[in-house]
Amino acid sequence: MDFINMIILGCAIVTFIPRLIPALFIDKLNFSPKVDKFLNLIPYTALAALICPGVLTVDESMWYIGLIGAIVAAILSWKKVPLGAIVILTVIILIIVYSVVPLMIL
């Protein structure tokens, strides 16, 4: 088999297994209130870990680009702007920042 096809197949299998196991066993499990609380906290901690420090690598050469984007998104979200609009506005603001940064350096 082609080397690249083997990579795709291998990655597909090792990615699917962790997704499959909960699907097979979730109905047989009855989580205690403690485990339930643990699982309810996961979305918050996972998001924290996904954002930090990854957001600082949005642009490998300028770490503050990601920080600016995160602050913009946080402010818009605080002001209760709808989700789709937050994503679009943040991108637009970064395009503006990118256009201004070279002017400031020169």
């Binding site: 901690t45 924290a48 996904l50 949005v58």
Partner: protein, 230 residues
């Protein structure tokens, strides 16, 4: 609401995700093609693997000459978090069955998990609608990528890199805004992940997520967690 209406409601929740996935899919396709993958392979990887960061890492490793075992093992480590996320989603949904559970497992990625977990929706059909729409937009992005490679100017492409982070921040802020205990937990976990990533690399995401949740069991009062009760 009928199943169909719940499905459509979920699909609509995926619109902000799709807005980030299409340009990110194009970016992935650019790396994949450069690494020597053909267009069919590039798109089928998005379809079969469906793991944003995992695919980009695999394509970059392929491009730099890494071996099969190294690439597959790295993917396993990077994508192990889906085990935790899939468990959370399935623990939240109601009236599901094995077939739907398996399909929703494949559709579980950071964005679908985060958006669904912190929403008031706990219907499996909404999650399937949300997940399918996101999945197809990710594949669609790869398909556009192989056709119109390098079409996006660098500034625009870089600016789109922020979109998924903007989404994460926008999901998180309303959930923590009125809750000081969870805000502290989020900050503690973020700092933990920054520190751990220096030492254990790709493992840090899942390790700090789990340690963070354990810490949370002690510092967050039960009444602050009202997820899935609507």
């Amino acid at each position: 609401m009928s199943k169909k209406e719940k499905f459509i409601k979920g699909s609509k929740m995926a619109i902000p995700i799709a807005f980030g996935y299409i340009p990110m899919g194009i970016g992935y396709a650019a790396i994949a093609i450069q690494a020597g993958m053909n267009p069919i392979q590039t798109i089928s990887m998005s379809f079969l693997v469906y793991a944003g960061a995992g695919q980009i890492i695999a394509a970059s490793m392929l491009g730099s000459g890494a071996g099969l075992l190294a690439i597959v093992l790295t993917n396993f480590v990077v994508n192990l978090r889906y085990f935790v996320m899939s468990t959370c989603v399935l623990n939240k949904v109601e009236e599901s069955n094995l077939g739907l559970n398996i399909l929703s497992g494949h559709l579980t990625v950071d964005e679908s998990f985060a958006m669904f977990s912190l929403s008031e929706n706990n219907n499996i059909w909404s999650y399937i609608g949300l997940g399918l729409t996101a999945w197809l937009s990710w594949c669609f992005g790869a398909a556009i990528g192989v056709v119109v490679l390098d079409f996006l100017p660098v500034i625009v492409a870089n600016s789109f890199n922020i979109s998924l982070y903007a989404l994460f921040v926008a999901i998180l802020i309303p959930a923590i805004k009125e809750n000081r205990q969870i805000t502290i937990l989020v900050l503690v976990t973020a700092i933990l992940n920054i520190l751990l990533s220096q030492f254990i690399g790709n493992w840090s995401l899942i390790v700090s997520t789990l340690i963070g949740a354990i810490i949370g069991m002690y510092i967050v009062d039960d009444e602050y967690l009202l997820l899935g009760e609507v």
